[in-house]
Symmetry: C2
Subunit: 319 residues, 2 copies
């Protein structure tokens, strides 16, 4: 090995050691083995399809070990759940949906439970619970769509940052076997900050005086993910800002730093009708009329990224 290669090797090792050290201080979820087994079985069963891993919803970071309080990231899970639904509708994908417990889910997202329950009634003649006639058409449409794709959807939940990161890493081990057929669509709102467990209060913090909290930066796992965990997959990340002026710059920087294929950039207040797809060489905006509720922007995003993924697979295979 020449000197440059030796240097590269050593900086790679340093990076891997750092990320391992970060994971080592987090609480490892107990069900990782079972998640990996389920994901592997799912990918094998759907080996005739492309596989997408869609992450969705926000992660929490506890501020006490016996957790009463936590910091959360705003996200209802609309982007991830809607995109999963459109990916399934293409019939080209099986989707692993890694989502925040209780956040929106594909298909069921169309109804609040209140809406659903208020349309159930006990029929006095048959003494059976029935669905109101007025609610039948919409419900029937959604259930039919859901049944069509239920074998192509694997749902896995997380709540805390630790659960999210460990599960994501575990799933990449399975996805890496699929090469360029795997797409990672990382729409979850992952915390940038955390309190290292050794600095956490053990009990509920008492409210006798003002509170100062000190958060450390979460290392960007997107870098080891792209470089080491799934180097052959098509990786898409999302960038949400509230300040439009810094959005594109941050998206470009992310591509340079992490070396993945595509950043979908969006601004908090306009995210439902405008996104910009940023690659290393260009950017493309997708916009819908904000008054229009006939079409969801996720349908257009998915159509666009599916095409990009196909091109990516083609490019890889012809190398």
């Amino acid at each position: 090995m020449d000197e440059i290669n030796l240097q590269r090797q050593s900086s790679t090792n340093d990076e891997l050691v750092l990320i391992e050290e970060f994971f080592a201080q987090l609480t490892k979820p107990k069900n990782l083995d079972s998640i990996r087994d389920k994901a592997r079985e799912f990918c094998q069963r759907n080996s005739h399809l492309k596989i997408a891993l869609v992450t969705s919803g926000g992660t929490t970071i506890p501020i006490e070990l016996n957790t009463v309080r936590f910091v959360d990231n705003f996200s209802a899970g609309t982007r991830g759940s809607a995109s999963t639904e459109y990916l399934l509708k293409t019939e080209q994908y099986a989707v692993i949906f890694l989502f925040r417990h209780k956040s929106l889910e594909p298909f069921w997202r169309h109804f609040s439970s209140d809406e659903l329950f208020s349309h159930l009634d006990v029929n006095p003649e048959t003494n059976q619970v029935t669905v109101c006639p007025s609610f039948q058409p919409k419900l029937k449409e959604v259930i039919s769509e859901q049944k069509k794709s239920e074998n192509r959807l694997l749902k896995i939940t997380f709540t805390t940052l630790s659960e999210y990161l460990f599960t994501l890493r575990e799933l990449t081990m399975v996805l890496n076997e699929l090469g360029s057929k795997a797409m990672l669509y990382l729409a979850a709102a992952v915390s940038d900050f955390y309190i290292p467990p050794e600095n956490l209060a053990i009990h509920k913090i008492q409210s006798s005086e003002p509170l100062r909290l000190h958060f450390e930066l979460v290392p960007k796992v997107l870098r080891p993910l792209v470089k080491f965990w799934v180097p052959d997959a098509f990786v898409i990340s999302f960038k949400l800002e509230t300040d439009e002026n810094i959005l594109l710059l941050k998206a470009r920087n992310a591509l340079k730093r992490y070396g993945h294929k595509l950043v979908i950039a969006n601004e908090l207040n306009t995210r439902k009708h405008k996104v910009t797809l940023v690659t290393e060489i260009d950017s493309e905006s997708i916009q819908i009329n904000s008054q229009n509720d006939e079409i969801e922007i996720e349908q257009l995003i998915v159509a666009n990224v599916v095409e990009r993924h196909n091109q990516f697979i083609h490019d890889q295979s012809s190398r």
Copy 2:
């Protein structure tokens, strides 16, 4: 007015000024008038009954004005939603249920939406959505109970600490007209800390360096609530700690400080099978076998507090 009364008057005014100043810096929800009107109409329509205000679920505190991140209090809303259900079942109460958006609700709490959706199917013969036979008995029971009491339940949601506090204060103006017939069952997990709006970051905080956050104490609104807003009502507060050793002491201190009638004290890990009802003069524990899933502890808590409330009404009227 003699000197002692003058002093009292002036300390009362100071307290009111302080709490007004605190409210003045918070963001006032826009729908307060409509909430008050609905609540008043609800109380008039149910004037033959006692009225309970049950608060439930955790409040959030934003850490950015354009909020991407917030601190949340852990609470699924089990205590409040289950207690509301049992209060309604007594048929003696109409309940205003002030709950965190998306937290558990009375009746529907028995099913996750996943569970419900997975038991719906399109019948190929009738082409109608039907409920699976296996799921009929449980669903029928819950829906029948829900229908019985739907006119006695008013649901109002909150998310942030500001929304919770403003709405609570607004509702007490309506409840105060009912004297001792009103019961306040304050089971919501309300944040003890907040970041004053003038100290909030305007945009999403950038993740280029570690983050220090400084929280101020939220003034205890229980004190003005008991002293000024609903002085004649039966007020119950909850105390949750993770450290059992300080729990009873803190409950007693709360009673002394706020002057209300009852604290229901519980410890995070045992809260589903043990609570202690603490008054100024005694304490009473309610415990169920933790293996027993036939009975919920809220049923026993409600039976106990209903009796205490009746005694309270009787004592007040015979004064």
